[in-house]
């Protein structure tokens, strides 16, 4: 899996909850392409139509608070968002994102130093984040070894699938 991303920033505030990332009334949907149509709909109804593959979501503290719905991570992943950078993440969202291999990184102060439309480069391995539009550089918190291992394997399912296959042999 890729660990270095460059893309256009979309800026969001703090406490972006899962109802804003993916409204509960669409929870019955199962196809990723249907789920991606409602990405961040509650925070910015136009996000799904304007976001391009590889774009970067930047947010304040507590991104993904609220419910445990995985659709919140699925919708970002299936919209081809490259990486989510926030000042902090709600823990269930964080776990879901790692499990589904949606790259994310915590970086204090980031939401005040990036404007909508800036071009940002994020390197997950080193935690280095550069705003290419302003040339400012930040260092985010590097992921734990286990989280990185899951991300690099394309999600926890692949890891379990291998384990199950090993058991059967």
């Amino acid at each position: 899996m890729k660990t270095d991303f460059t893309g256009t920033a979309h800026l969001f505030g703090k406490n972006i909850d899962t109802d804003q990332i993916y409204p509960g009334r669409y929870l019955e949907l199962v196809k990723p392409e249907e789920i991606s149509k409602h990405c961040l709909e509650g925070a910015d109804p136009d996000f799904a139509s304007k976001a391009k593959p590889g774009d970067i979501v930047i947010a304040g503290t507590n991104f993904g608070c609220g419910s445990s719905r995985e659709h919140a991570a699925i919708t970002l992943k299936s919209s081809d968002v490259g990486v989510v950078v926030a000042e902090s993440f709600a823990r269930i969202f964080y776990r879901n994102a790692i499990n589904l291999s949606l790259p994310l990184i915590v970086c204090k102060g980031i939401s005040k130093s990036v404007r909508n439309g800036d071009i940002v480069r994020v390197d997950l391995e080193s935690g280095r984040i550069e705003n290419l539009s302003t040339l400012e550089v930040f260092y985010g918190e590097r992921l734990t070894e286990y989280a990185m291992y899951i991300l690099k394997n394309g999600g926890i399912k692949n890891i379990f699938r291998e384990k199950s296959a090993d058991r059967k042999q």
Partner: protein, 420 residues
């Protein structure tokens, strides 16, 4: 170590754990709600065949109960089939209620256990001295296969609550006040312990309401040292075979906060965040269209009783519709025997089957654009109960009921003097 750390250490087969450590714990119970058929799909995608222990996992049909659409009916059908095929010993179909209410009622929850569920409000079970936390569907599928899950041992924040509440001020007001002060991101990644003479004095229902909403501060889990009321409840339903963990003296909390609630006024969380909280006398008497009593936060017997006490012999305003959904069938049945249901029906309320109802905006009383709802539930994010342009005001069941009577947001402390 803190009591929570002792529970985690035991589940991880370790003598000692410290905050920040990543550990692998064995799970005592996994509860799956009806939102995520993905759990079953992921189970098979990951090569699962038999669940790790059919006595330790159960489905609860609550969010879509009874099924409002063909698609959700299909979800229920496939979950029933999975439960049957795997030989689950517990199953909670559409006739039981909201997951966090039916788990303790069924005698599953006890102090010292590790309980995970595909729902963020699993913090509720801290009321029983259990470690309860919400997980996503993929995590749940991993538990179904292995019976284990990794956790980061959380720091613990201590919130001491002292004093006694005034008439018509409830546990819901206490927790709204705490969240309003500390804010929605106060406890991200942390555990929250509630303690103090107020917490020691309250019963099971009030404790559940407070722990339930700890997640609205970002908490991973909540904890209250069980009091006699809790132990009586657990012993009568589960039995005596539980472990009571004690926090070591000298344990260092990551943060301590104090609240004296003796002069607390009824509180309202205004749109559109749970920490946007004001005392009732600082909120405009906004006209309301729907009043809702229900959910895992405010749908227990005591909540319905508080609403009935306010509405006895009264009629709700003509401009208001009032929806009441008992949190479980047991609650419903007791509310019938106590006469609350009759009082509320005579006051003009509409009852729906036990479950989540409109709390999540999927059915049973959702809101149109431009409408306002006063609700005993836990979240008022835009679009939570229907249109993103509806306003949700969170409050105690007493405030909800009195506002339904007046037609606008109103202070339930005025209920007594108000001529009937």
């Amino acid at each position: 170590m803190h009591a929570i750390e002792k529970m985690l250490a035991r589940a991880a087969g370790k003598e000692f754990v410290t905050a920040g450590e990543i550990i692998n714990c064995s799970i005592d119970f996994l509860e799956l709600n009806d939102l995520y058929l993905q759990v079953v799909k992921s189970f098979y995608e990951m090569g699962g065949e038999r669940v790790w222990d059919p006595e330790k996992a159960a489905f609860v049909f609550d969010h879509y109960s009874p099924a409002p659409t063909i698609r959700t009916a299909q979800i229920h059908k496939e979950m029933r089939e999975f439960a049957e095929k795997q030989g689950f010993s517990h199953h909670f179909d559409i006739n039981k209620g909201v997951c966090h209410q039916v788990m303790p009622e069924a005698g599953i929850v006890r102090p010292g256990m590790i309980l995970v569920a595909t729902d963020s409000h699993t913090t509720t079970h801290g009321a029983f001295g259990a470690f309860g936390t919400g997980i996503g569907a993929t995590d749940a599928a991993c538990v179904l296969i292995s019976g284990e899950l990794w956790f980061r041992v959380p720091e613990v924040m201590k919130i001491t609550v002292t004093g006694t509440t005034a008439d018509n001020v409830h546990a819901k007001d206490v927790i709204l006040n705490i969240i309003g002060n500390l804010k929605a991101d106060a406890a991200v990644y942390q555990a929250v312990e509630f303690t103090g003479d107020y917490i020691e004095s309250i019963g099971v229902a009030d404790r559940m309401t407070i722990c339930n909403m700890a997640v609205e501060m970002g908490a991973k889990t909540a904890y209250m040292k069980p009091n006699r009321a809790v132990l009586d409840y657990v012993e009568s339903r589960y039995g005596y075979n539980y472990v009571l963990d004690e926090t070591d003296t000298g344990f260092e909390y990551c943060r301590e906060e104090f609240f004296d609630i003796s002069d607390l006024k009824p509180q309202i969380a205004c749109p559109s965040s749970v920490d946007n909280v004001f005392p009732v006398d600082e909120v405009e008497p906004v006209k309301i269209h729907q009043a809702f009593i229900g959910s895992c936060t405010g749908g227990r017997l005591e909540d319905i009783g508080a609403a009935a006490e306010i509405l006895k012999g009264r009629r709700i305003a003509d401009s208001v519709r009032m929806v009441v959904i008992p949190a479980s069938m047991e609650v419903f049945s007791k509310a019938v025997s106590k006469g609350y249901v009759q009082i509320l029906i005579e006051a003009g309320a509409t009852f729906n089957a036990p479950g989540c109802g409109p709390c999540l905006g999927t059915h049973a009383g959702i809101l149109a654009k431009g409408e306002n709802c006063v609700s005993s539930t836990n979240r008022n994010f835009p679009g939570r109960m229907g249109s993103t342009e509806a306003g949700i005001y969170l409050a105690s069941p007493a405030l909800v009921a009195y506002s339904a009577y007046k037609g606008c947001l109103s202070d339930p402390r005025l209920s007594r003097e108000d001529s009937k």
